[in-house]
């Protein structure tokens, strides 16, 4: 029982070699291939995910830039409109002021003219009244140049006093 049997050793060697070749092909080969495939697939998917994430990041940055631009534009437009409105308002106010001033001046002019005309009328009226009164008083007609001048001078004097 303790002797080495040449044929058994040889047979066992052959058995093991056959088993090794068989298992290498059908067990380890197949399973390792599957494992490797899976590892590769996972690697690929990781890479794809990474890529997609980078792309998404870029897109996000882009959008944010665009959004900021749009906001700036809107703000600029609002400020523009406000400025324009202000300017319009101011010019309108000025125009209105000018118009009112002009109207006032015209009115003042008219008033002054009317007053002057009235004064003239009154003055001539008063003069004729005075003349009539003087005629009545003197009962005669004053037609000499000298007297007329004298009355005028008097009236002027009165006018200045009144």
């Amino acid at each position: 029982m303790l002797e080495f049997q040449g044929s058994t050793i040889l047979f066992t060697l052959i058995n093991l070699v056959v088993l090794y070749l068989f298992l290498r092909k059908f067990l380890f080969g197949r399973v390792n291939a599957i494992l490797e495939q899976r590892a590769q697939k996972i690697q690929q998917e990781l890479e794809i995910a990474q890529q997609e994430r980078t792309e998404a990041q870029e897109l996000k940055v882009n959008y944010e830039q665009q959004l900021a631009q749009a906001r700036d534009e809107a703000e600029r437009m609002v400020a523009d409109a406000r400025l324009r409105g202000q300017r319009l308002y101011e010019s309108k106010v000025q125009e209105a002021q000018k118009a009112s001033q002009r109207i006032q001046k015209e009115a003042e002019g008219q008033i002054a003219q009317q007053r002057a005309e009235m004064l003239q009328g009154v003055r001539s009226e008063v003069a004729s009244l005075a003349l009539m009164a003087a005629e009545k008083v003197a009962c005669r007609q004053i037609d000499t140049q000298q007297e007329k001048a004298m009355i005028d001078a008097f009236l002027l004097e009165v006018g200045e006093h009144s």
């Binding site: 303790l2 002797e3 058994t8 066992t12 298992l23 059908f26 197949r30 399973v31």
Partner: protein
Amino acid sequence: MEAFQEMLTEELGNEIMFTIPIGNGIPVANSVVISWIVLLILMGATLILTRNLKMEHPKKGQLALEGTIEFLNHFVQENIGTHWKGFAPIIGTLALYLITANLIGIFGVAPPTKDISVTASLALISFFLIYGAQFRYNGLLGGLKKFAEPMPLLLPINLMEVFVRPLALCMRLFGNILGAFIVMEMLKFVIPVVLPGIFSIYFDLFDGTIQMVVFVFLTTLFIGEGIKEEE
């Protein structure tokens, strides 16, 4: 007592099953035939288990298989280092053969590892693996230089180890399985019921697994020792 001794002697001898009539006749021992059965079991199981492997949505069986192979790959990689890829299937084959051969004793068949010729053959394989790897990956000179490591003074011991390692591997496996077998036979002789079943769990299952682990572990470790680069 005499009867028991006779029975034991009969059990221990490796009878020759039949002789192939070529030349002087090549004797085929019992253990070789059982080895063939082991081979058939392993091949059948392999074909059934790897029948349709899928990359996506693997089933439980496939997951277990993948886990085992990954464990083996990891173990070999850890112990051998960079050149592990070619060794993993060899180590795996040894492990599968040994565990099946050791555990076949449960079914009442004499395990082939009880035959010293079979274990000698296994030790021969691990001898070729260890020193083949050492010379293959270090070159002739580098492989020779490995014997003078860690210091030249240890050269005789290292040279002695070349023979002691395979001998120890062979004898350890043989002795353990044979010892377990003898104890089991004695138990069966004394109390034929119940008790052998309980002890069979320890001697066949536990001891068989442990011996497989030890053989594979030592072989891997020795290979790694021969070719691993100094860290």
